[in-house]
């Protein structure tokens, strides 16, 4: 009811004259203040995360100006000389610019497009399971790899994929085949990166889908069962539509980071023979930064941020119009 009155007041305010609207402002502010005081404990909970974002996410944006400067640490951010878009041009004119963009987008979209269905299938499978023990076991086992660092994962991957002593290659050789250099072959490297990422993070990704599945009213399942719907039908017509908002949300959020392809993972796994298919923007920046090119690194970071923002705005509009779902 309160929300209705509020919207109604806003609608009225739009057709009122300017002086009247100005008079309404203190009244609205007063109402807002009363509402906030009423829920003051909830608002108080908001303070720590807001403080975090202001200090660690918004104030540093001020320093992004070094993307347009010849940054000298001793002169500081403000004292360094302006150089315009020079550092952006350095990046755009890099010999490997196209490679870097293609590789980055391939890894990002690959992880998103292939990783999401796997996580959804796993979440639905866990949700449909009737055995609590089995369900908990599967959840725990699939979450565990998320907590391993990529250095440890490299050790595991070498144990599996090494042409000299990896289990998979031993199997291939036992079957009469030739060992495959999975980690150093341009033909295999992308598959290894994407599949190892899915292996590591699928369990963790299921949390959101499971939460969404648990939010679906059991009445819908019961009614469908009474109507004779099979389990597959219930999944298709109830479970999947029920998690569409979460799928849209995750897709939109991931699109905002489309140029972040997972530096830690690729830096640990890649090597010179697979640079052509494995070198991404962040690894290039890392190697460039060895020569004190701080401003170039910041320019690339800014480019990634702006590109991600534009993408998220466009995708949000598309999602709103086509699927009637959106972030904002």
């Amino acid at each position: 009811m309160g929300q209705y009155v509020h919207r109604s007041t806003l609608a009225t305010a739009r057709v009122l004259s300017a002086p009247t609207r100005r008079a309404l402002v203190p009244e609205r502010l007063g109402r807002l203040a009363r509402e906030m005081w009423k829920h003051r404990w909830l608002y108080l909970l908001l303070v720590p995360p807001l403080t975090y974002y202001v200090i660690f996410r918004y104030i540093p944006i001020y320093n992004a100006q070094i993307a347009f400067k010849d940054f000298r640490p001793l002169l500081g951010v403000e004292g360094s000389a302006w150089v315009g878009f020079e550092h952006f041009q350095t990046f755009f004119h890099s010999y490997y610019f196209t490679d870097l963009i293609v590789n980055t987008v391939v890894f990002s979209t690959g992880k998103l497009v292939l990783g999401m269905p796997v996580a959804i299938v796993l979440a639905i499978a866990i949700h449909e399971s009737r055995f609590m023990f089995f369900r908990s076991l599967v959840q725990t086992v699939t979450y565990l790899p998320h907590f391993l660092s990529w250095v440890i994962m490299l050790g595991l991957l070498l144990g599996l994929l090494s042409p000299s002593s990896g289990m998979i290659n031993e199997g291939i050789q036992a079957a009469g085949g030739q060992p495959i250099p999975f980690l150093t072959s341009p033909d295999w490297f992308r598959q290894v990166v994407i599949s190892s990422d899915i292996w590591k993070d699928t369990g963790w990704s299921t949390i959101l889908y499971l939460a969404a599945l648990l939010g679906i009213s059991p009445d819908l399942y019961e009614a469908a069962a009474v109507d004779g719907a099979s389990r597959w039908r219930r999944i298709w017509h109830i479970s999947l539509p029920g998690i569409v908002p979460v799928m849209v949300l995750i897709t939109l959020l991931r699109l905002g980071n489309i140029l972040d392809a997972g530096f830690n993972q690729i830096f640990i796994l890649y090597s010179v023979p697979v640079y052509s298919v494995g070198d991404i923007i962040d690894t290039w920046v890392y190697r460039s930064m060895l020569d004190f090119q701080f401003s170039v690194g910041t320019a690339v970071g800014l480019f990634k941020g702006v590109f991600g923002l534009v993408l998220i705005l466009v995708a949000n509009q598309v999602a709103k119009r086509t699927a009637n779902q959106s972030l904002f």
Partner: protein, 552 residues
């Protein structure tokens, strides 16, 4: 009601703590005085801190001697002695080797938060890093410090040629510490495997291939499994092309390393030499024959040093100390008491050119004092610390530990470990390495008695004498190319692209993902020029000529 009040109170408390933590000032760095203040006081002038009796905080960043051993503990006798004798609170931070260490230095530089005294870690040239830091205004000249260290100048800074590398505009910008023993790496082969298969040690690249094939396919360890490779190694990201571990192949063709210092009359990149593709073709034969551990392009040094003690390889390029010091040899000895590594000389290529073992360019670790430390008046304290490290007390304590516990001195003045109450506490035992982490960076002088103490002979499990120094003497007397002047060469701004192009193509040629023929090689050289390699060579030549080197 009580519960509600409690919850509200807890919420308020939680929020206040978080907000207070977020808003609290970080640990306040020393106030930076105006640049007009003198950077380093004269030696006779005590610092304000010393006058007031308050200890001076000095933060030192350096790489570790024993990377796997960790930092000294907080109650380390070194910290205590330095505090009591020098009135200095030393904070010693170990930084990683290679690109990770360089990144750490760069990150601190970007934030103008460099420590007081630090190693200018670089994957290309510590000397150039020193110069770059000076250009950025982040380090201060150390001329006044040198005057305050008469003993250390005699023991550690006694090579004018080395010091001149970090001298610009008449100012000494960085220290150049005593280098590790140069030319210390070399090619070694499992003699027990040769004996078992009835083979002779190879002397040419072609013979090496024959032996490597036998080591890979003829079960040299006799365990009935096909689990050995002729050659082991890893791709060293700090070097260009094949990397340091496999340069013995290009060395056989007279072309080791990036620059052609072996032929100063035709100075330039070694890849310009018509024999270079022949060297790559020779290496490709090894790859094609599958006699090199196929993980060589993926694994790093630590993994390599796990694998060779497991008996996976019969031939490798390794540091003499990493191979033959007691603590490093122990695992191999435990696994293969009858295993025996012997050194191989520089191999000869079919071209008949003078063969080299490899190129060496190390000039010793380079250290700098941050401008911030100089402005805070810490120069004299840093000089006092370095000078003490060169005094008998500092030298023995930081180099070998506590006398009677970690070492003893023999009648002829050599540090020994015989007769210690607990052999596990010997200075060179595996468990005490964290107590002498600075020894290779700032303490040791390569004095003959010291070298004799550092690399002592020992008995293997089957009673053979293992002599690290015999390996060193063999390696160091092989024909090496002196590439130290390469430290002067400044890398172009597109180094990341240039190095990727260079490395990627060289490895593609040897791995067979790109055919190696006249046309593809010409395309490779053309690609290098498109990325500015020609200009880089011209600039490098001019830099060397300006520094007095006779290159043409």
């Amino acid at each position: 009601m009580l519960r509600t009040t409690f919850v509200k109170g807890a919420l308020i408390g939680l929020v206040l703590i978080v907000v207070a933590s977020a808003c609290a000032p970080a640990s306040t760095p020393a106030q930076t005085p105006a640049p007009s203040q003198p950077t380093v006081a004269a030696p006779a002038q005590p610092t304000q801190a010393a006058v007031s009796g308050k200890p001076v905080d000095v933060e030192l960043w350096a790489q570790a001697t024993s990377t796997q051993a960790g930092a000294p503990p907080d109650d380390w006798v070194g910290y205590k002695t330095i505090r009591e004798k020098l009135n200095i609170n030393l904070k010693y931070v170990i930084i990683p080797t290679g690109a990770d260490g360089e990144t750490k230095i760069n990150a601190a530089a970007a934030a103008n938060a460099l420590p007081d005294f630090f190693q200018t870690v670089s994957t290309s040239s510590e000397r150039n890093k020193c110069l770059e830091l000076y250009k950025q205004g982040l380090i201060a000249p150390i001329d006044d410090l040198m005057k305050a260290m008469p003993t250390r100048v005699k023991t550690h800074y006694n090579d004018p040629a080395a010091l001149s590398l970090t001298k610009f505009d008449g100012k000494q910008l960085c220290t150049v510490e005593v280098p590790n023993l140069p030319r210390r790496e070399g090619l070694v082969i499992r003699k027990d495997w040769l004996d078992k298969l009835g083979l002779k040690a190879p002397t040419t690249i072609d013979e090496l291939l024959v032996v490597a094939k036998a080591f890979t396919t003829q079960d040299p360890d006799g365990d009935g499994k096909n689990d050995t490779y002729g050659i082991g190694g890893y791709w060293d990201s700090g070097t260009w092309g094949l990397g340091n571990r496999f340069e013995f192949v290009t060395g056989a063709y007279g072309l080791p390393g990036l620059w052609n210092f072996a032929n100063p009359d035709h100075f330039g990149l070694n890849v310009r030499d018509p024999d270079y593709p022949k060297a790559l073709a020779a290496f490709k034969q090894f790859v094609d024959a599958k006699v090199i551990d196929p993980d060589w392009a993926t694994i790093k040094r630590d993994e390599f040093r796990i694998r060779w003690p497991q008996g996976r390889y019969g031939i490798m390029w390794e540091d003499f100390a990493a191979l033959a010091m007691k603590s490093n040899y122990a695992k191999f000895d435990g696994n293969f008491p009858n295993g025996e590594w012997v050194p191989l000389p520089a191999l000869q290529a079919p071209t008949g050119k003078k063969a080299y073992y490899n190129a060496y360019g190390s000039v010793g670790n380079i250290f700098a004092m941050s401008k911030k430390a100089a402005d805070a008046g810490k120069g004299p304290a840093i000089a006092k610390l370095l000078e003490w490290m060169a005094s008998p007390e500092g030298y023995y304590l930081l180099g070998f530990g506590v006398e009677g516990v970690n070492y003893k001195v023999s009648s002829d003045g050599v540090v020994v470990t015989t007769g210690l109450p607990d052999a596990k506490l010997a200075w060179n035992a595996e468990g005490t390495q964290n107590l002498t982490q600075m020894r290779n960076q700032l303490i040791f002088t390569n004095d003959p008695k010291e070298v004799a103490a550092r690399y002592v002979d020992f008995k293997s499990k089957n009673g053979r004498t293992i002599s690290p120094m015999s390996f060193y003497q063999f390696f160091s007397t092989q024909p090496w190319v002196d590439s130290k002047p390469g430290q002067l060469i400044v890398y172009p701004s597109n180094r990341a692209d240039l190095k990727r192009f260079y490395d990627e193509n060289i490895l593609a040629f040897v791995l067979g993902t790109k055919p190696l023929n006249d046309q593809t090689w010409a395309d490779f050289l053309k690609g290098l020029d498109n990325l500015g390699a020609g200009k880089w060579e011209a600039d490098a030549k001019k830099t060397l000529q300006d520094a007095g080197y006779a290159v043409k």
